[in-house]
């Protein structure tokens, strides 16, 4: 590599926190950093396909503006000038926002989602929009209408979903940060299978305004990154009350970055009681996943934490309840895609009534998984079935909330593997929706209860060499606790390994691939 290429390569390897300090000291410019990431995208994204849209010119213009203001002596926000990738579920004024669906192909919203506006106000540099399962329905990003994203660890494998694009972009060093959305695990499960960090905040902690709704009572926007501190820094930017979202909390939040830094510095977990959720592990979990998870528990214990097993019997019904509540809300949320005001319009031959046009548009514009869930949800809400399905699911939800409340009376955080398996092969579960749904077993309870959850990498499964994630959950509003505990475990693990997990991922840049092929010969 030329010195220039090496410098660029090194810039993409830095954490957001490190980039931010180099930008603040003017050791590098935002334009350099932005170009480095755009070059990286150019080099690897034809293989990874993390992005649906790359806004190179917009990103460079924003970077130049930040550099000019910094040169003029302005004091800017902590992450000013740091590039970020945005999940395509979020509305952006200057970029198409499709939610991975044909029905919104090319649609450019007339407004920014609140979180996107906050990114711009904090002078982050949006690089583009990332791929996702259509309307966030899926666990593999294979349900994107624009083709799947590939896992940077093994391009034949899924990057998780629905936010596979955001996780893969971060894991493939195409962006140091990304925004995701998590309805049943769409931030945490992709983070787990790509070796990155993903945080689902407390429901109401981050505004949903401008996030194209899947299931309103479950959706939550959150950060995706390579380190716990980076996630916390981004959470500090996007969090807080939004008068445009009635479900957003009015709480004053502590600094999550401070909590993460405290966790990095104080490695003793003395006094912390950790509950291992019996129902979210054991039988059916991949051996390597369980092994790395157990090792992480030992590490936590050796750091002084008290680790106990807890039981939450109602979690057994979480997936069943989730797959009634989610489709019910989604069937209503997706009714607006009718061709009348925006998006795709299919006019059947020979004209037709508005019903004909709406039907033809929805038939052509929605993929099979979306149709499956609209049908499920419509059925669950129908007169005569409401009590048996939607009504019962809401009761289960209440029981799950009670289970959380009961165990949180005794422990400070709960812990489980982030997903039952490492990344599966593309196409492996496409014809088996139920098996796909089961992949979210571990992440769904947090959404049903509205509590925060974070996933961070704990190593590679011995049998396949793929990343394994651990999930911590805390009571609602205790997001800071997760950043603190997460940062401690991350530091302990990296001290033991002597490197970050993602530094072990294959480098996808063409010259390296060429070199390794030569080496193989």
């Amino acid at each position: 590599m030329s010195p220039e290429a090496t410098r660029q390569h090194d810039l993409t390897r830095l954490s957001a926190a490190d980039l931010a300090s180099k930008l603040a000291s003017r050791e590098v410019s935002s334009l350099e950093v932005t170009d480095a990431h755009l070059d990286r995208i150019h080099a690897v994204d034809s293989d990874v396909h993390a992005f649906l849209h790359v806004a190179a010119e917009g990103a460079r213009a924003a970077a130049r503006a930040v550099d000019a203001r910094r040169a003029a002596g302005e004091t800017l926000g902590t992450l000013a000038g740091v590039p970020i990738a945005i999940k395509d579920v979020l509305c952006t004024l200057d970029m198409p926002s499709t939610a991975g669906s044909k029905i919104l192909q090319g649609w450019v919203p007339p407004y920014d989602a609140t979180v996107v506006r906050k990114l711009r106000d904090a002078d982050l540099i949006p690089l583009g929009k990332t791929n996702m399962d259509e309307f966030a329905m899926g666990s593999s990003t294979e349900h994107s209408a624009y083709g799947p994203t590939h896992n940077p660890w093994d391009l034949d494998r899924i990057p998780g979903g629905s936010g596979g694009g955001s996780a893969a972009a971060v894991a493939a060093f195409e962006a140091p940060l990304a925004l995701g959305s998590d309805t049943g695990g769409s931030i945490r499960q992709p983070a787990a299978v790509t070796g990155s960090v993903g945080m689902k905040p407390t429901y109401g902690g981050v505004s949903r305004y401008g996030a194209i709704a899947l299931a309103s009572s479950l959706d939550q926007v959150g950060p995706v990154s390579r380190t716990v501190l980076d996630a916390a820094l981004l959470h500090d930017v996007i969090g807080g009350h939004d008068p445009r979202d009635s479900t957003s909390l009015k709480d004053a939040w502590p600094s999550f970055a401070s909590a993460a830094r405290a966790g990095q510095q104080n490695l003793s977990l003395k006094g912390l009681k950790i509950g291992v959720v019996k129902e979210l592990g054991g039988d059916g979990f991949q051996a390597g996943v369980t092994q790395r998870f157990q090792e992480a528990l030992e590490l936590l214990t050796s750091a002084g934490a008290e680790v106990v097993e807890v039981s939450t019997p109602s979690f057994e019904y979480a997936i069943a309840a989730y797959y009634l509540i989610l489709p019910a809300e989604a069937s209503s949320n997706l009714a607006k895609f009718d061709s009348v005001r925006f998006g795709l319009r299919i006019n059947p031959t020979g004209g037709g009534t508005v019903e004909d046009v709406m039907s033809a548009t929805r038939e052509a514009g929605f993929g099979p998984e979306v149709k499956r869930r609209i049908i499920l949800g419509t059925y669950a809400l129908s007169a005569g079935y409401y009590d048996a399905y939607y009504g019962s699911a809401q009761k289960v939800r209440t029981l799950i909330q009670r289970d959380f409340a009961r165990v949180f009376a005794d422990v400070d955080v709960l812990v489980s593997p982030s997903a039952p398996t490492t990344a599966f092969k593309l196409g492996e579960k496409l014809d088996d929706p139920l098996s796909m749904y089961l992949n979210d077993l571990t992440t769904i309870p947090a959404n049903l209860a509205g509590v925060p959850g974070i996933s961070l990498p704990v190593g590679l499964a011995p049998e396949d060499g793929l990343p394994v994630g651990i999930q911590f959950m805390a009571p609602a509003r205790e997001d800071a606790r997760l950043y603190s505990v997460g940062a401690t475990l991350e530091t302990l693990l990296e001290d033991r390994w002597g490197h970050t997990l993602l530094s072990q991922a294959p480098d996808l840049a063409p010259q390296e691939m060429f070199a390794s092929e030569e080496g193989a010969v």
Binding site: G210, S246, F337
Partner: protein, 504 residues
Amino acid sequence: MAKAELMDYDRALELFEPVLGFEVHVELNTKTKMFSDAPNFFGGEPNTNVTPVDLGLPGSLPVVNEQAVKYSISLGLALGCSIAPSSRFARKNYFYPDLAKNYQISQFDEPIAFGGSVEVELPDGRLFTVPIERAHMEEDAGKLTHVGGATGRIQGAEYSLVDYNRAGVPLVEIVTDIIYGAEYDAPELAKAYVSTIRDIVVSLGISDAKMERGNLRCDANISLRRRTAPGEPPAKLGTRTETKNVNSLRSVERAIRYEIQRQAAILEGGGTIIQETRHWHEDTGQTSAGRPKSDADDYRYFPEPDLLPVEPSAELIEELRAALPEAPAIRRRRLKADWGFTDLEFQDVVNSGLLNEIIETTAAGASAQSARKWWTGEIARVANARGVDASTLVSPLHVSELVALVDAGTLTDRLARQVLEGVIEGEGTPDEVVASRGLAVVSDDGALIAAIDDALASQPDVLAKIRDGKVQAAGAVIGAVMKAMKGQADAARVRELVLERANA
């Protein structure tokens, strides 16, 4: 449209008992819409008073208008309802292009107000208590314009245009319980009920309450129950129809009468009533079949997950209760005393549904008697002739200006009627009509004296009689002068001047 068979009204009432129920939608006059910060202003360029929320754009979220909640609580209290300490919005799901999200945010099983009643005064002064089941908050839909058809209705139209300016306008829907016992007065009760609701919302100041503009809309449910002989058990309730598009107080009364006569004819002819919505046609005075409606319509209601429950504090409810204006019945008693109207005069005003117009006219400066005389007299006459509500013809402010012109002697009653006609025709304010039509009384004595001197000179015999003290003879001269002045003179002043000139 085939003309429906109608039974004589008296005969229909002999055979059947009318059973009523009303759903009245009140558009609230808040500054912004129910769930967005778009101006609550319907009209203007289509699709300009809209935000991403009103257009149902992906990612947009509703936020409840607190003023609309307060208005709804006040209305609930004025209807004698209990206010729910916690009520919830729900989604009513159905596909229709005037509904941006393809669901309406409404209230379903947890309305903000429930269990009240309203006292309504019938034309004979009898009080009737209408039971109120509930009042709930919801958002209005957009407006469709069907283009290319002959009738402006969807049938036969080539395409339809949607204006979302009205989408999201705050509504309160007031639903009555089933109303029994209206009997012969059912049509009058219907009118009196809607009129009372209008009085209430106007006195609360929460709606412009113009029926012709759709601020106040009434859906009237009617069914007939066959009478049974004394001692026999009562018959089952009949199948109901729901008549929509009833856009005036007058229409409410006519539509109910029509449906009673139509249903009675069908039932007596051995037919059955279809449960359906019916569309009222003001021009023909008939209803026509709309879409079949069944109780099985499945709107897949579920609690709106984007909104929190509405939980007004007890303090707020008490504050709003304390600020309620007096109840319509008490208010009417007070107004009657204040205005010094006789029982007959006051009943006339109440029956005409013009109470608020008279209040506003007196507030603008006219005397109560003058206001009453104009509204229940000439304006009501024109309204009747045109088949519209008097309130739609002219504003209270213009009526008070007209009265002032008469009081100042600028107009005679006869001239004032011509000015009123001009105002109704949209020629401007009374002052502008006086100027443009040249209708002012000639108050220039010089012009009058010249005409009087001419008339006296041409009728010397009359002059002699006047000078002999036969004052009544002056009539002939006054008549001639008024004719010469084309009626634009004050007859009393002419008389004074005639006597003055004759005896000069």
